[in-house]
Symmetry: D2
Subunit: 349 residues, 4 copies
């Protein structure tokens, strides 16, 4: 019996959509985007921090064109108001659990203060950007385990090789009553690439759709579950296409299409938030520095990028589920992985 191949081997990672992925099938296929994780996994503490750096430099000095789309604003993110107004990122993007947002924002402020003695003096203040999901089912979120230094550790660990699943901010997250977490993917649209990274913590099992297959209904048939959904999903999009902030806002909205195809109806309690940025150019902090002078993409050429944004987001969610290892956490709560769940069905057949 042990000789048999494990049942999960019978199904391979679904590849959604019709566009080709980039070489790493990861947000790090775009420009110099790097991702770092800091994971806390001990007993009831199952949480962490994930940082996405938009380029190799300091985004306070070389700001990155960006935009936000709030699909469902049941969320406690920090920094979106200024991002919407000014259309730029000026820190790396941090992801963490809901109650760590203030702490991580303070860490971002402290890092900027250390790097720039003129901030808060003759220079303007810095706009921290921290997005969150509630990992309270597995993680003892009330313990406030994330500390300021964890932000720097996640940032320092950044790499083009992006770990997925139950890592970083994704450590304690659940999706579709299964183990959720971090997923990433990319899609090529002509000469441009769109990369997505998600922190997936949403959905109930019966809703799950895998590449069009409503597998959640089958998986859920034998179970009954009734915790109220308190999930969320953060979706980050990066592209190397030269888009301005208005165009990036349009791109961001398309992540919602990918999300919907996995079964979400943007649940009431789910903070579904998208941030999109371009790596094609930067905007200088100093008013005296020359502004970039490049042609934005013609509006009618956006459509392939929109398709790529939807596909990359859907794929990133699938990847988060696929790569997530099962995790046990507070009060005996645990989440099995998608592959375990699929194997169970396969085993029954």
């Amino acid at each position: 019996m042990n000789e048999q191949p494990a049942p999960e081997d019978t199904r391979s990672l679904p590849r959604v959509g019709q566009l080709p992925p980039g070489p790493r099938n990861s947000i790090s296929d775009v420009g110099d985007v790097r991702v770092g994780h800091l994971t806390l996994a001990e007993g009831a503490i199952q949480t962490g921090v994930t940082v996405v750096a938009p380029h190799g430099g300091d985004p306070f000095i070389d700001k990155v064109p960006a935009a936000v789309s709030v699909i469902n604003g049941f969320g406690k993110s920090v920094g979106l108001v200024q991002l919407e107004e000014l259309g730029v990122l000026e820190t790396p993007i941090a992801l963490t659990n809901t109650f760590a947002v203030g702490t991580v924002a303070q860490a971002q402020i402290r890092a900027a203060l250390e790097a720039h003695p003129r901030i808060g003096r003759e220079w303007p203040t810095v706009n921290p950007l921290v997005l969150e999901c509630n990992d309270g089912y597995l993680n003892d979120i009330r313990a406030l385990a994330v500390c300021e230094e964890h932000y720097g550790m996640a940032l320092a660990a950044r790499s083009t090789d992006v770990a997925q699943g139950s890592v970083g901010a994704g450590r304690g997250m659940s999706a579709f009553d299964l183990k959720g977490g971090i997923g990433t993917a990319s899609r090529r649209a002509g000469k441009f690439t769109v990369g997505a990274l998600v922190l997936a913590n949403f959905g109930r099992l019966p809703m799950l759709i895998l590449d069009g297959d409503p597998v959640g209904r089958v998986l859920a048939a034998a179970e009954s579950s009734s915790e109220p959904e308190q999930g969320s999903i953060i979706m980050l999009l990066a592209t190397d296409a030269p888009l301005d902030a208005r165009q990036l806002r349009r791109l961001a909205r398309r992540a919602g299409a990918g999300l919907a195809r996995t079964g979400s109806h943007y649940g009431h309690g789910s903070g579904d938030i998208v941030v999109a940025f371009s790596t094609a150019y930067t905007i200088p902090q100093a008013p005296s520095a020359p502004m970039p002078s490049l042609a934005m993409l013609h509006e009618s050429r956006l459509d392939p990028l929109f398709a790529a944004a939807a596909e990359a987001t859907e794929q990133a969610i699938v990847n988060a589920l696929w790569h997530a290892e099962p995790v046990g956490g507070r009060d005996g709560n645990s989440r099995r992985s998608l592959r375990q769940a699929l194997a169970q069905i396969a085993g029954k057949t």
Copy 2:
């Protein structure tokens, strides 16, 4: 050979989602909602007007709580700015082709002026509400064939029995390179119902997903098509749940989830716009009239309605395709129906 059953009989209308439909599986399952069509179908003129009346009375006197969600604002609708600000409908909702919007808006104004001699004198003006798609592939839209009287004719024809497919404003519409048009559906969420009516005129064939099945890829395999997408979709949601305008805006956003599941990524050139309204109460025109005093739904009870909005929208799109008859129009252009296309595949097997 002729003896064989027609191939399309082998596949039945897909029923999407998990919630039960209302008795008519139609937007007319909600309150006293009625729908009327006026169809123009002669030679190169393949267009029309569809009117959705939110109740049996005069919505200028008894206004209807409502909200809008602009998923992609590449559209020429009239009346959305005031709808967003004041949170009410005050006319029936009219659907028509892009270049008939001004004409139908004038018809709505004229109708209100005739009914209410005080409008434009001591009373405020009326806010017409007309939404549109571009049926220019089949219809000679440049001929401006819709006249003001067509609005009244569509309104007069309103009924709980809602014709679907190539009728009314849907006459000349295309979706997924097939014949599109009008579709409707409803879903029950506890004791409440959400109904959807769509004017479907979006998408390219390879994108089409039918209840999770990416059938468009198969249908498109043998073809090559290259007209630029100039589509759009108007989605109307009605519910008998007591929601205020803010809650209705949240509900409206969920139509985008249903839309995405049919394959849309909210294309650049597609005006994807949702209007949602409640039939649970009305708001009097006269400031002296008593305001309704009823409890809105608790926010945390919205989730089943959100699921219903997504499912009803997806189903309404599927229904539009399913019920659409093939239509030939200007310059020899024509669209076959989804059922013809499916039959062709079936026939090949």
Copy 3:
């Protein structure tokens, strides 16, 4: 007694703010902006059309970066949804009375169809842009006197020499219970200019503030007036600074500051809407044409333009009042001019 100079001579046109005006103190100081009026003034018909052409060419072919700010959306304008999404103007901007919006929109469509046989065929449709106020106090707005040809006549009459007051769309408008209408002004901000043109039809007399002086309280002291306010104000801003659509949206919002300084609190019934555009570059209709490649203005250099937008708007409103001739209209209604009202006070002293 008759020998005395007329009392209105004792007060000269207030010059608000601190920035210098352009050479014409007019929106036509910006790029090649031109303004044309068509005035209907016979008996109870006191209305018209005003057209602002953003440049000398065809804005459908060479689109103009633009944005909208809806301060109070109690208005029936056409074209704002697409303007917001795509960030461009593609027709001249038309102003008229509330019930003529559909008619003028049809005229814009017809003009675009005539100029471009491919519109509605292989090209996308055109987005008409018509903004409105309700001139129903003086004008028999129910008569629907504006016809399609009036739009073309107004456009043909365009000039750098902008008539103000009771002309064009301003013919029947009232402001502060006085005669309102069209006003224009400009302000220099370093090497750039911001021009404003308003259609002023808002406010009750006691609210009026002239360059900080709450003169309305004095003017209103002897009177009692109780018609409900059904006013509105449309504010157009033009600048030759190279701004993108996001920056133009920020600029547009500042018109609200100028408006407030004249006494407005953005009344419930007043559709207060701003459209801002830049003449620094155009965006080609054809996807194959090269996109403009110029440096946008650094965000921190926007502040002087914001001050200019507020001042130019306030001045344009003052100018509309100052230049408006008294008008009599339907049912014996009439509006005296600001200068008459000021003269009456001066005469009393």
Copy 4:
């Protein structure tokens, strides 16, 4: 010479607008609104925390209908995304300096966790609400002097007697190159009251308008000043009128009219943000609790409230300036008070 009355006595506190104030001319005239301050004033540390409690109970259990208007989003506030989506406050509103936002948000989270053991378990998380201005000119903002306990101390100090000027979060703020800070006022509109509380930290001296009088130009004549504006203003509105969240958003927008009348053009670098709430009813946390069933105010009755919002905001800003004591802070920086500045002019005459 010393015998003469101090020159500032010659001018009394300007009373702006036309509506009567409430008994305290304070936000505490509305319902059970209370305000508390914690002031840090030692050497280079000139900062603090101000808390506005919307009622006497726990706003997490009895949520308060609320809305936000972002006039200029150059700001780092926390909690606005969820406030906008759900239309409720669920904590007291905290004001502090820019770099203390994360700390105070953590304090709000900790307070909610202590009060409610089910938060972050079976209950949803809490949405902290912290708004900020940058007091870095007087305060050594880089020292991060605000600690979590300061929030609780400010909350505990709440009272109907609202100290104004250089107190609480207003301690280190500057406005119009003068000492700014906390101001409050109220206005009656029929049977309802609108109260405003501002944290004023915006504007350059030449812009200052006092009740229509552009006194800033005179005050600034003898000076030259060139620090870049890095200001902001937070405006809070409370009303006892039964408004829903959509109506409160409309109310909030009117604070911008009051702000403009003091000379602001919503400067690029100024985070101008309004939060409005109603004390007329609360919304229960528990889905099982009955929802309030009361008639909202008829839309056409909002106008007097809008006027009151504009006037109360303008008055609150004037009051902040009028009551602010001069403060010296970091690096020898100091701000004189408005009354000192006025006295200087008076002395010169």
